[in-house]
């Protein structure tokens, strides 16, 4: 074997034996560096005869190419091994459980959600939202709404009162959101289309009554709206709110001091192990009261009942929330039990929209 071949074999052996990139680099320098063994051989070419140079030159360059190639190949192997070793050391336990995203963990109270749902539906029908104070005068809560002084209808509202003032008058906690209707009629000119959601109070406490509860009332005043429109609006509302294709509603005559004629509305349903299905079954469930605004109320609010007419309705937000979402006990709405809230509440990104559905 020639010296060159021996040298080549020796270098290739060193390359194969290099355990890491540093060792490999040392081999490269010893062979191809300025003072490397192959570089030294190449330097001898200048002293050779042209013929000798031709054969030797080709041989040395061939050896150099082989070594260069082997170096590159070995470098790839070593680099890859090093990366693999690094990766092998860089492991985490991906099964470690995460916290819920905050937007998944937080909850909107069912009453707030239903408030948003109602507003969405009625806004689409052209209603705006009016609000008023919880602490009201007797005049706005009763007298202007055609509850005569001492009338038994006043007793139907078990009213919370405040202490009498020096002039004998006393403020009260509104028993319905109808005073907001009064305030609206006194401050706006017809046509009027508003809903009045809000907190209301009556002295009552059991599974279906709490001393505070929430109502949404609606009011339309113009020159042509009648019971037929009222029926249509409530029908449309119930279908949209309960998210059903069909709903059977029963309107029956009733009495409220502030409407004439007055109606109560039942919806047909089937109760099945605490769950309520609408549009089927043979139960009737009362959900709201309504009627044409009483001429005395219009007059008390400065509106001529012969020129203008309109209707109003009222329903319990708590009640329709319970019906829609299968909540059994009204009192739990105000218990602030985080287990209950996280079960019956809604995620903050579940925003009711008509396009995407009220509840997802």
């Amino acid at each position: 074997m020639s010296d060159l071949a021996t040298l080549e074999t020796s270098i290739l052996d060193q390359i194969a034996a290099a355990g890491d990139e540093a060792a490999l680099e040392a081999v490269r320098v010893s062979a191809l560096g300025k003072k490397g063994s192959i570089s030294a051989l190449l330097a001898t070419l200048g002293k050779m005869s042209p013929d000798e140079r031709r054969t030797q030159g080709a041989a040395i360059n061939q050896a150099k190419d082989k070594v260069t190639e082997a170096l590159a190949a070995r470098r790839d192997v070593l680099k890859s091994a090093a990366l693999n070793a690094r990766l092998a050391s860089e492991t985490v336990d991906v099964t470690l459980p995460l916290r819920d995203a905050q937007a998944e963990a937080g909850r909107i109270h069912p009453l707030s959600q239903v408030w948003d749902e109602l507003t969405t539906i009625f806004a689409d029908m052209g209603f705006s939202v009016a609000e008023g104070p919880d602490i009201e005068t007797d005049d706005y809560n009763f007298t202007k709404l055609n509850f005569p002084e001492g009338h038994p209808a006043r007793e139907m509202h078990d009213t919370f009162f405040f202490h009498p003032k020096e002039d004998g008058s006393r403020m009260l906690l509104r028993t319905h959101t109808s005073p907001v209707q009064v305030r609206t009629m006194l401050s706006q000119k017809p046509p009027i289309r508003v809903i009045c959601p809000g907190r209301t109070y009556r002295i009552d406490s059991d599974a279906t009554h709490t001393p505070q509860f929430h109502q949404v009332e609606g009011l339309v005043i113009d020159k042509h709206s009648h019971l037929g429109h009222l029926k249509w609006i409530l029908h449309e509302f119930c279908k949209a709110f309960f998210e059903v294709d069909h709903i059977n509603m029963r309107f029956r005559p009733s009495f409220f001091p502030f409407t004439e004629p007055s109606l109560e509305v039942d919806i047909q349903c089937r109760r099945d192990k605490g769950e309520i299905r609408f549009g089927e079954g043979d139960d009737w469930l009362e959900i709201l009261g309504c009627g044409m605004v009483h001429p005395n109320v219009l007059r008390a609010c400065g509106i001529d009942p012969d020129e203008y007419q309109g209707f109003a309705w009222g329903m319990g937000i708590d009640r329709i929330a319970m019906l829609k979402y299968g909540i059994a006990d009204l009192r739990q709405l105000f218990d602030s039990d985080v287990r209950w809230l996280s079960h019956y509440g809604f995620k903050p990104l579940e925003v009711p929209t008509l396009a995407g559905g009220l509840s997802s």
């Binding site: 909107i108 001492g150 405040f162």
Partner: protein
Amino acid sequence: MKFTLSWLKDHLDTDEPLEKLADKLTMIGLEVENIEDKAKALKPFTIAKVISAEQHPNADRLRVCMVDTGDGGAPVQVVCGAPNARAGLVSVFSPPGTYIPGKDITLGVGTIRGVESRGMLCSAAELQISNDHDGIMELPADAPIGAGYAEWAALGDPVIEINLTPNRQDCTGVHGIARDLAAADMGKFKDPGIKPIKGEFPCPAKVTVEDANLCPGFALRLVRGVKNGPSPEWLQKRLTAIGLRPINALVDITNFMTYDRARPLHVFDAKKVKGNLVVRHARDGETLLALDGRTYNLDPSICVIADEHGVESLAGIMGGEASGCDENTTDVLIESALWNEINIAHTGRKLGITSDARYRFERGVDPAFMVPGLELATRLVMELCGGTPSENVVVGKSFGDDRIIDFPVTEVKRLSGIEVPMPEMKRILTHLGFMMAGPGPVVKVAVPSWRTDVHGKADIVEEVVRIYGVDKVPMTPFERGEDARKPVLTPLQLRTRRARRALASRGMTEAVTWSFITNTAAKLFGGGQRELEVANPIAADLSDMRPSLLPGLVAAAQANTDRGYGDVALFEVGQVFRGDRPQDQFMVASGVRRGLASSEGLGRHWSGSDQADVFDAKADALAVLAAAGAPMQALQIVAGGPAWLHPGRSGTIQIGPQNVLGYFGEMHPRALETLGADGPVIVFEVILDRIPEAKKKPTRAKPLIELSAFQPVSRDFAFIVDRSVKAGEIVRAAQGVDKKLITGLIVFDVYEGKGIDDGKKSVGIAVTIQPREKTLTDQEIEAVAAKIVAEVTKKTGGTLRA
């Protein structure tokens, strides 16, 4: 209001089935609440005879009876535990498969202590016809074996209960209900006239009404020589069926008239009444032992009927024990009167008496029926008890005011949207007792005296529509009109809505707590004023309107802790009260964090579990403000807050000292102690009403964006300042140097301890300088940096850390 089907049929000639009558009642506004049909519920119960009763082989207290059920088959073996089960007894039997209402079970074939039992002998309690459960029922020996028990016992008269609205006093009597049903085509109304009974002598008692306002009319008559005792079976059955206790014929007649004709009456035992009757205000100190056995203290606001003994009756509400009728009564004074509705309601409320008379008088009875009612009652007294009637004494008026309404017939269509033909309108109104005259378009409608609720055109429309059928009103689409679609929520409503979702997005749970809190809690938060104290609270701890949401939320957090859920983050967005005027009510967002409830999440976690701290509350408050559209750049954070917050761990958010938007911090330990809660508890409060409204912009387009072509430069500074210097002061000083060039500033480090002198701290800030027109030279950047150092030094006394 309760009545039976047969009672109704006394006033209505009808063949309509019960279900149809009930549906119609509901659909004309007399809502049927319940129908108790014993005949239906007790159908499987039959009359049977015990043939033999032997001692049970394995049980001392049980007997094995052979029972003849009358079905022609072999006797049935029944194991019975009743002490009175004996051979020859006729009782009530139910076969297997029967639902037993009193026990709420369905009977099966059973084996009791090894002996088979194929049915049951029943007590009255098991049938729910009385509370008697001392043994099985004992029927007369001649009761027909095999016959249905309910039918034999005449329990077959269904009891109908309607939920009467307060306007329909005329339907507090069966007669009025029948009139409505007849108008709605359910049969023929039976309304024979009432013939007056001629008096045979003048009534010896005189009547004086001192205040006609309290008693517009009063009629009285004596019937002499009556024989009072138990009333006849038909009358007792009527009263029992609707839950009244028969007493004696005279009293039962008054109760019957109350329910039959909506005409409450009172009967005095004439021999117990001394002298003439006076209707007057009660006097202070007067008392009355009433028929309910209770003694009432009276005052001048109460109207009474008195004689020479003193008060004998609470007018229109309840009679007195002393002058009541009993089996010894021979002479009876029958009173039929009209009372002031408001005074009756007031007295009833004041004395806490609910009676059938009060119920009717406070709704207003038919004034024109005062005397006919007295005549009818006299007839009943004479029929049931005999006797000789005196002439009537009538004081005041005995008729109603004429009410004639000019009624444009188009009103029906205008208000209801339904076209009712004129003849149908007339038929309905006439059947209801109205009179309609004239060809239209405006007719005259006379209102009958018993319809005290009808005053105007809209009332007439209601009468027509409810009888014609509300279900016939056509649903009519409600056009939303051509107005542009605009957002309908007010700025405050939008803030409220956004505040909720912003807080829930921070992992908090929304609670809705009571508007009322304890007086102690209210005072702690600056409330508790007398004007905000409920005069008649439902419970002592729900006495004051809340000045803050925090007492409710802190209590809620504590309640959850007590249930074993101590890491809680709750919020509420709701109303608070600082006074009783509308402008004193504010919409507030508040939150509490307790335990391991930092902004990172609730509870323990491998990635870190932190106690909530002041900065979580600050972040919550600022999240609400940002979501609600507050001008964030203008907000100032000032150390400290109200007394209920920890003085060193709290802050106030304001836009100048005049407009405080909210607070955040740790609850003061003393405040927590007052509220009975364990700490620490981290809270915030933001008053949404106080956020200044953003200026309305003419378009929705956003301002043009300016994207600089030049790289921003960041420079770090560390200042050593006194410990009391607020980071906010350093930030403000640095930011103020060049508002154009300095586009960002963060505090990246706060350090106290080794290497820093006591009482000092190091605050590191990184300032971003964004060149706009050209790249800045080193000198220019250094000039800005020097100004920052100079400014911070000047404002805070700090020095650049070496």
